[in-house]
Amino acid sequence: MHKMRRASGCWSILFLRRWAPYMLALAPLLFVVVMLVAPTLRLVWEGIWGQDLAMGLSEEAGTGPAGNAWSIVLDPDLRWRMGWSLMQATATCLLALVLGVPLAWVLARWQFTGRELVLRLLMLPFVVPTLVAALGVLALWGPRGWLGAPLAAAGFELEETPWMLLYGNLFFNLCLLVRAGVQALEQVSSTRLAAARTLGATAWRAFWRIEWPVMVPWLASSLCLVFLYCFSGFGLALVLGGQRYATVEVEIYRLVAHELALAQASRLALWTMGLNTLAALAYAWVEQRLASPAHVTPLPRRQVTSLTQRCVLATVLLVLFMVSGAPLLAIVLRALLALANTNSMALLLNEETLSALQNTLVFSTLALCFSSLLGVLHALALHASEIAGWRKVAARTASFLPFAVSPVMMAFGLLLLYPQWSASLPVLLGAYALLAYPFVATALTAALDQLPASYTQAAATLGARPWRVFWRVTLPLISPALRRGASFAAATALGEFAVSLFLSRPEWTTLTTLIHQHLGRPGASHLDAAMLLSALLMLLTLGCFILIETHDRSVS
């Protein structure tokens, strides 16, 4: 009798172990299907089989080069757009890698005053609204900017060149790579590194043979993100690159939002989604192959002492400042100047600003909690599942799905699929969470890959139940990654880049929407107000990061 009960207990544990990953995966899966997959498919369906909504405006729909799936290959303009989108995304990835790796190395290995601040400031570009960021970039490099004006006088005009767009891409995305690099270097075992050095390897050789292999999966994940962001980004490309260097996503946006030419847009969107999926697959494959669990005693950081080190540090920080810091500083300076403008203060010191501030805080916190929960479930399900090989690669790829799908398609699909819900707060918050949660999921997946199974096995052997193992062992060990993911998620929620695509209500005005409202009206005070609000948004974000990462090893 006793034995039988024990046996049935065993069975239930086995049953749980077999099905637990699926149960964990249920919530994120359901969420992604309801919020993203179904709406997008619905819109594609409408585009291909539905009534032609472009109506009188559409010319010969269904015929000519626009009418078949290969139109992208056949139409020279679309071909150029697709090629250019790919090229600029790849170029940005390469540049980010070249600039980001030394930066990450210095930030991870050396100790110097202000290091923590640099790591936190790094994330600020993420929250600045595109137009404001562009104004910052142009204050520096524009034809009338501090550096741009002398350059223009010397015959180098940067405006409307691809360089401007690449610079803007780097401004927004360098932080992704640097943060991942720092995190990766924390995972390098100090004993292995010491062994290599004792055996006579130079610092350079030790980097390539010991540190670099550990970094690759982390860098792959962030490069994949950079690629997806650049490939399907649209605000920045237009503002800085001008119409010629607009990306495919801009074309999709125009076709969907302004022409309702859903058939053409769907074809284009399917192409870009396919390419995005390839990028995500590449990342998943790299991570699958290279990630290996290891006991890690991280290397203690060294004080910067010698002159050479100081010079290297200064150079690396200068590069960072020129790419990410200076445009932000330009915005802050303009905001400080705006403080003197009493009229713009009058525009801001009212109930509207206060309620926008409140909305920003409430929405971001809710989105952060929701996306963290989903991200944790997603990563745990992936970790616990016993699938392997291509199925695991596919499952990893899926975590990038929210970034691979065109936000315009998703927003209009939501409208079509759930018209009655489209102007409701849950949908808006769901959209925020959807765009934020892959950050948590991918950061945690990487962290869990590095976690040796022996830790949790030891706890289980000592009699801890799965929940307790998770709470006391796994969670504390992955918490730095959770915090890193959460800060990106928070930054995404605070900056809410795709928010203009969704229906909004005046009572939900956030700081970002308020900035756009001010920039939508003529008058110097509105511009000043927008600058002040942007500075406030940055300050708020900085506060958020400090709160989220208080006890993070890699930062403090």
């Binding site: 409408e46 909504l53 009188g56 405006l57 010319e59 303009d77 137009l131 562009a134 104004l135 142009l138 204050a139 524009g142 034809p143 009338r144 405006e159 237009l238 503002v239 001008g242 119409q243 946006y253 125009r254 969907v256 939002a257 302004h258 022409e259 309702l260 009229n343 713009s344 109930e351 916190t365 809710l366 909690c369 209009f412 409208l415 079509l416 018209p419 009655q420 489209s422 102007a423 707060l425 969670l475 918490s479 203009s500 695509l501 229906l503 909004s504 209500r505 005046p506 756009h516 409202q517 920039l519 939508g520 009206r521 003529p522 008058g523 110097a524 511009l527 000043d528 208080t550 006890h551």
Partner: protein
């Protein structure tokens, strides 16, 4: 820390529960769903007065730019997401009409003569296809006065002047596919010059370095020389100089910008309000009250400085800011709705080929 984080999120979840419960209790009275574009803005008090008087709860839904908003309405026409729409203008009206999303309104506001008719097919009171005009404005060039004074360059006297080398790389316009100002300006050139001559002019403007921005905000705040750009001529609105005075840094009495009314470069935009087909029948009365409200003295007064438009109510008094700094142009261009409907997309593509490709 984990525990604190956990309890914090629990508290937030509870808070959100309370908030949604509060939201649910407020939905007992009739809710009127109003779809508008992002530029819609009226003082909170004015809207609150309407809610009180009509005994409804207003739910303003912003659907992006006017064009995006209309497309969202067309996409959801089988299950309308709003009961009444504000912001359909004369360039969008033919499309809204063809999509069959409008339910004509015939109440008192539709029987008072408006200062500007919706379009060429409008009745004697300015109502067309049941859309009631609320306000109007002019899309036209604005210039940076200080720039022209500094450079000692004379102002262009015609559109053709702008294609001369003296005005090389001085103009910024908006993309007509993504900006209603850009579209209105394109239509003004077609109406003023005739289609072929207009596209010929655009081709010469391209050669003369015209810049195309995505939307009004980019053009005005990034490219216009008054705000840090390099282009002293921008496509904007006839009321923008008045707004510049109103929202200036220091108290000023003359605007830093001025209107440049050139033949073929002034488009009158008339925005209207309309009932939506298939809307919630319980909100119908409130929707009609909202249309009347948009033509009421309070709104007709407030919109002049909240949206910088001229009131459509013929009796409405102009506010000082508009009277002093926003004179209306003597002549303007417009296009018959039928021509617009038949050609809009073709013109867009032609423009794209001529100016960008």
């Amino acid at each position: 820390m984990q525990r604190r984080f956990f309890s914090f999120s629990m508290a937030l979840l509870a808070l959100s529960g309370v908030l949604s419960a509060l939201g649910a209790s407020a939905q007992q009275q009739v809710t009127l769903r109003v779809m508008t574009h992002n530029s819609f803005s009226l003082p909170k008090e004015t809207l609150a007065q309407f809610e009180k008087k009509a005994g409804v709860k207003l739910q303003i839904v912003k659907g992006g730019s006017a064009g995006e908003m209309l497309n969202k309405l067309i996409l959801t026409r089988n299950q309308p997401i709003a009961d009444v729409v504000y912001g359909i203008d004369n360039t969008l009206l033919p499309r809204a009409q063809a999509a069959g999303i409008i339910d004509p309104y015939l109440g008192p506001a539709a029987r008072r003569k408006a200062a500007a008719p919706m379009d060429d097919k409008a009745d004697a009171n300015g109502v067309s296809a049941g859309v009631v005009p609320v306000n109007y404005g002019y899309v036209t060039f604005n210039i940076d006065k200080a720039w022209f004074a500094r450079q000692g360059l004379s102002l262009p006297a015609s559109l053709q002047d702008l294609t001369r080398p003296a005005y090389n790389r001085l103009v910024v316009v908006q993309h007509p596919a993504t900006s209603s100002a850009g579209q209105a300006f394109l239509l003004a050139t077609i109406s003023g010059l005739g289609e072929d001559a207009a596209f010929d002019w655009w081709a010469r403007m391209r050669a003369n370095g015209v810049k195309v921005a995505q939307g009004w905000s980019d053009a005005y705040y990034k490219d216009f020389s008054k705000n840090g750009g390099t282009r002293p001529i921008v496509v904007s609105y006839a009321t923008s100089p008045a707004a510049e005075v109103f929202y200036s840094k220091e108290k000023i009495h003359t605007p830093p910008t001025a209107n440049l009314f050139l033949t073929g470069a002034v488009f009158r935009q008339v925005e209207g309000v309309a009932l939506l087909k298939g809307a919630d029948p319980t909100a119908r009365e409130a929707a009609m009250a909202f249309i009347e409200f948009m033509r009421s003295p309070a709104v007709q007064h407030d919109l002049q400085t909240s949206m910088w438009m001229y009131p459509a109510e013929a009796q409405a008094k102009r506010v000082d800011a508009l009277q002093q700094h926003a004179q209306e142009p003597a002549t303007f261009n417009s296009l018959p709705g039928t021509a617009l409907h038949a050609n809009a997309r073709r013109w867009l593509h032609r423009w794209n080929t001529v100016v960008l490709k």
